[in-house]
Amino acid sequence: MQDYGEQAMMALNGDEAVAWAVKQSNVDVVAAYPITPQTIIVEKISEFIHNGEVDLEFVKVESEHSALSASWGAALAGARAFTATAANGLALMWEILYIVASTRTPVVMTVANRALSAPINIHNDHSDSMGARDSGWIQIYSEDAQEAYDNTIMAFRIAEEAMLPVMITLDGFTISHTLQNVSVLPDEAISNFVGIREIPRIKLPEIHGEKEVPLMLNPKYPVSIGPLDLYDYYFEHKVQQNEAMKASIPVIEKAHKEYGEISGRSYEPVHMIPYRTEDADVVILGLSSAMSVVKKVVDQLREDGKKVGAIRLRVFRPFPADIIRKELSGLTAVGVLDRSLSFGAEGGPVALEVRSALYSSLSKPAVYNYIYGLGGRELSPKLIAKAFNELLEVKVEPENPTVKYLGVRE
């Protein structure tokens, strides 16, 4: 393996870390619109461009809807394309999220997770990206600034090999605006890891004979992208797309393995990272930065002899149901943290998925769902300890509510 020399330890907030990843990943086109708490990403990229530190086209669009539309156009024209947004910006992109995914266009997007309006709130929760969970994007949630950097770099590899768009999230403000130590690899290491965007070739049965054609807006091989597709073929295309999501699992694993080789950070096992779960009776599972606090509480409770552990889910789409089932079966109880609501549903999005994955298990634990942190509300160690203690004493009774709010005033 090539020796690229030392990684540079830099004090960066999460947004800056993402901008560094974009700068190093041979990105050709960025199209983005400002929205808190993502804005630092595009400011930093602009700074890199204006200082001549990176050669890319930044399309400063007039809306997020256009940001994703321009990213799509750029990617189809052969570019590696990146965009970033948050909250209402992601909501404005909704229509195009599905189109980018179903045309199998490898756009990479960072979402600095922020609460959705109304009331307007600029702070962190996961209602934005969770709302987009069915749109066909791979979703990877980052715990800290380092991981936001690493995930963004890997995202380009994953997107282009799986031919699916990838959404990397980081918690708004908590991570996006907080200075942390971030190990930044040398430019050459990242450049070699991601390479230059290659154009995928697809097989078209008749127009060009047996030759595979580049899936690109290219006068040499004209293709039509985005047709009308009726009841005679639409279903087949959707199943194919869903199968592509499943097929992206080994692609995600491979990117992590290879990235681990150059960075020393492979985040294994990539889909969900267990913490002190070996002999645990009770586990709290959740996403992103809150899990740093949960792990600290696990340490404290372990000192008191309590058999507790934590699992940080990283890859939410495609959802690692098999792995979840394997990891959680046999436990007494699982507390699932959700930083968003699915209004009117029996729990938050993560809990719904976890419960569903466990249903076919013969030794399923009790699953309790804790909704926390909406609109940036703090999740204190005390609240987490309270949840753990509840789970340790859990009695599965029909009248016992399985969905609870953590840290809300009655």
């Binding site: 086209e57 809807h65 539309s69 807006l217 006068p219 004209p222 047709p227 009308l228 009726l230």
Partner: protein
């Protein structure tokens, strides 16, 4: 500024080239007599080199690419209704970057030397798409946006748009007992576009094919964004005979309902028959001649609704006078 060519379309050469390249193939499912079918061919005829075609949602989009069929032998992409100009912005940015670094210089399978054309209907342009067009024009992306204006949401079943003219019957401006057709006038889309101070904007009527194709070529050649407002007869939505499509395109110009002009760097110039009408106002035909061929205006010919024709004519006269002033008459 880019030097604009003195290229003039030669019908025989255009025919030979189309025969060879067939940019828009037969077998699409636009209605018989659809004006847009003529417009899309004329756009392709005007190309100076390879083109990449971005299409907003609309009749042309659904009728030409019904999976597994496509009518396009040029690279073609459709994303959504309101964002074709944003998509084109991304294509243009990509082409710029990839060309600059010579990305595909040694790849015989990829060509980057192309012009970008965007096609949108009146819904996609006057209404839902105006934001992305305005943004793209402000950013000075080099592509030509062609509006094929059939004056209503025809693809969804003839609902009124910002481009629907006064008095017209649509399914959301029916001719009722109290309100008869659309009570409002057409949005002045050209004025809005010209306010963006883009290098080239023009109106075309396919009936005047020489004028239309020459302007489309200028649009391709413009040094920045270009906008072409193409008048597009819709037999289904307008209640006109399919064979009258070109005749109506001609009458729209002759009555000054749709004057022909171009705006190069904010300078207005009349073209084609609009020049002779400006010089000899007696040649300006009354709008009845245009209206009477279309079922959507039929109610205006009832004696009790005659005021509608007068009101429409008054508005047309004012628009025309304002244009004459701008064009130096």
């Amino acid at each position: 500024m880019a030097t604009q060519s003195v290229w003039r379309p030669n019908i025989k050469e255009l025919a030979r080239r189309e025969l060879k390249t067939r940019p828009v193939e037969s077998g699409h499912r636009l209605c018989a007599g659809c004006g847009a079918g003529i417009i899309i061919r004329q756009i392709a005829m005007a190309a100076r080199k390879s083109i990449v075609w971005i299409n907003a949602t609309g009749c042309v989009e659904v009728a030409t690419t019904i999976f597994p069929y496509t009518s396009w032998n040029v690279p073609w992409a459709h994303n959504a209704f309101e964002n074709a100009a944003a998509v084109a912005s991304g294509v243009e940015a990509a082409r710029k970057k990839l060309s600059r670094v010579g990305r595909f210089a040694n790849d015989p399978d990829v060509e980057l030397d192309y012009d970008i054309v965007v096609l949108g209907g009146d819904g996609g342009t006057y209404d839902i798409g105006i934001q992305s067009i305005s943004g793209a024009f402000e950013r000075r992306h080099k592509f030509m946006y062609v509006l094929y204006d059939n004056e209503a949401y025809m693809n969804t079943g003839i609902q009124r748009s910002g481009g629907t003219p006064f008095g017209a019957r649509t399914t959301t401006t029916p001719v009722g007992k109290v309100i008869k057709g659309k009570p409002l006038f057409k949005k002045p889309i050209m004025d809005i576009i010209v306010a963006h101070q883009i290098p080239y904007a023009a109106t075309i009527s396919s009936a005047y094919w020489n004028d239309a194709i020459a302007k489309l070529r200028k649009g391709f050649e413009a040094d920045g964004p270009a906008f072409i407002h193409a008048f597009s007869t819709c037999p289904l939505g307008w209640g006109s005979a399919p064979e009258d499509t070109v005749k109506i395109m001609r009458l729209a110009v002759e009555t000054c309902v749709f004057p022909l002009y171009e705006v190069t760097n904010r300078e207005y110039r009349l073209t084609g028959p609009s020049i002779s009408i400006a010089k000899n106002p007696a040649r300006k035909k009354p709008i009845e001649e245009y209206l009477k061929l279309q079922g959507r205006f039929r109610h205006m010919f009832k004696p009790e609704n005659k005021w509608m024709i007068d009101k429409f004519q008054g508005w047309i006269d004012k628009q025309w006078e304002a244009l004459l002033k701008r064009a130096g008459y």
